[in-house]
Symmetry: C2
Subunit: 333 residues, 2 copies
């Protein structure tokens, strides 16, 4: 790569003149600026990013650590993060924890050695299950800001962006009882051990209790044969008249399995799932969803983190991005 | 962060003794090693990654630049890349080009300043459409290896991992004609301007021509209302008796729209789409797919790149990971 020094030598002028010319300083003649810029372009000179960083002590880069992107929720959040970063002239560097504590730690180390000005993170499944958060505390002690989204940690003090998990499932379940007039509602979950999963199940149980109904929760964990499990449950429990799924797949599976059992959706069975823009398009009938504004969550996370850089005495905040019940064809009303 | 110097001072020994003790040198007594390691652990000492890198001139990090991860194909490839990286004790840093030339260039610059040992890249849509590839050539000139996958560039000499786009669609279309006995086959595409899209359409047209049939291609580009467009086409063309979709969404949409038109899948209409493991689970009937082995593509890309580091006179190669026709419920046979 071409350096300032090489440019100076080739042009037979000082390094500082080259530097000033490239920075369009008024001290330098237009003619010299032209010579410098032409040679710089010709030799593909790029200002040394690292040198610039040392000067400003800013990388204008944000580290993003996600559990996975094969979950479309995180893929869409990342899209939002990236869009907001571009808008504010920041770059992002993404690492995946693959839901593992060890990889989350490693990614955090890789990036906290001066590569980024801050982090946006959704906590890995293993870290949550094992309540192991020291690695985050350490980064914060080193004064590198972290913003947590979706899967957050109660005890870590930092900015947080979350969805209203409890409330959204509470309201969707209430809708199934009061508007759809259902009384045997099954909750299907494959994320029951995550903070968000727990909150969603709590929201369901709260309404069920308030209405004196029976709680039916099918916990799938990480099982491979989701279709079989859902089919069997629906087959064994013919009284189930509504399904609320708290992830983006099992609701659609419930619709398909109900059809296999000859049960009409939504006439015999109302179904509500979780999802985002394109989810309803995939199922037939189109699935009614608790619409998680993943793109907004990403944008807002980036914006909140960048805002925090600006203020001297930043007060940590927790932003709630409400999900909305989006009624499509898998509910009667 | 704790430094070697601090450790040395606290232990009242020389920096080089500390360094040797941490590296388990035979020159140092077991007792001293124990003292050093205990204090290092207590103070959370970490060997300076950058210093280590300067020594070996290797970062053990690979830069990955993807157009987007909201396309599940790329999300799954990334999962494969990441799994292979972990297996070989490498880290990955991911940047998104958002399908834009400018962001692709910027990501390449951000990471080619010594942060990574090599790149794995799928080319942005805009770069392909505008045939603008100089930025890749420049990185290669600086002797940073690049491996291109899926969306590759003919004229750039480097390692490539591709799928058999032409052949897989050729064979799937042939299957629709010969086994499913269809003669009015519609190809639906939303990626017609990409290299892979062009190859897939060529595969289709080749068979259609060989059998003296009429070519029907519905090009959707980036339209928002995919459902409407597909519905209208199927409604206006009642003779269509098979659909081959060359992306992972429009095949499922075709199934759903056919149902809306009262047409039975697969009895009246055979449908084949593109997809990966979880795609069939989402549609009802389960969609037959050209199964792209996205995870394998990712793993193989990383392995090929790392292998290339080892040999002095590496010969560039193009690896083909064949897709497989996976028959489910949306075809008769």
């Amino acid at each position: 790569m071409t350096t300032l020094k090489e440019l100076a030598k080739l042009l037979n002028i000082s390094v500082s003149t080259v530097s000033k010319a490239l920075n369009d300083s008024h001290e330098i003649s237009e003619q010299t600026k032209k010579r410098v810029n032409e040679l710089a372009a010709k030799l593909n000179y790029k200002p040394n990013r690292i040198a610039q960083q040392l000067k400003t002590n800013k990388t204008k880069t944000i580290g993003v650590i996600l559990p996975t992107v094969t979950n479309p929720f995180f893929a869409e959040v990342l899209h939002g993060i990236e869009t907001a970063a571009t808008k504010h002239d920041y770059d992002i560097l993404v690492c995946l924890s693959d839901e593992l504590l060890s990889k989350e730690k490693r990614s955090l180390e890789l990036l906290s050695n001066g590569s980024v000005d801050g982090f946006i993170i959704a906590v890995a499944r293993e870290s949550q299950v094992r309540s192991e958060f020291k690695h985050f505390a350490r980064v914060l002690e080193n004064r590198i800001p972290i913003l947590l989204f979706d899967r957050v940690i109660q005890d870590i003090e930092c900015d947080k962006v979350i969805v209203n998990d409890f409330q959204s499932v509470y309201e969707a379940t209430k809708f199934l009882i009061e508007k759809e007039e259902r009384s045997n509602i099954l909750l299907i979950s494959n994320i029951e051990e995550l903070s968000v999963g727990k909150l969603r199940i709590k929201g369901y149980n709260k309404v069920i209790e308030e209405h004196g109904l029976q709680s039916n929760v099918l916990k799938l964990g990480n099982v491979e044969n989701v279709e079989e499990e859902v089919f069997r449950y629906l087959n064994d429990h013919p009284k189930i008249d509504a399904v609320i799924s708290i992830d983006h797949i099992t609701g659609i599976v419930a619709i398909n399995m109900a059809k296999k059992l000859g049960r009409l959706v939504p006439e015999d069975l109302s179904v509500i799932g979780f999802g985002y823009d394109k989810t309803p398009m995939l199922s037939s009938p189109r699935i009614s969803i608790i619409h998680q504004k993943a793109f907004d969550i990403g944008q807002q996370s980036m914006k909140t983190l960048l805002d925090s850089f600006k203020s001297e005495d930043h007060q940590f905040m927790t932003l709630v991005i409400p999900s909305e019940l989006k009624l499509e064809e898998s509910t009667v009303n």
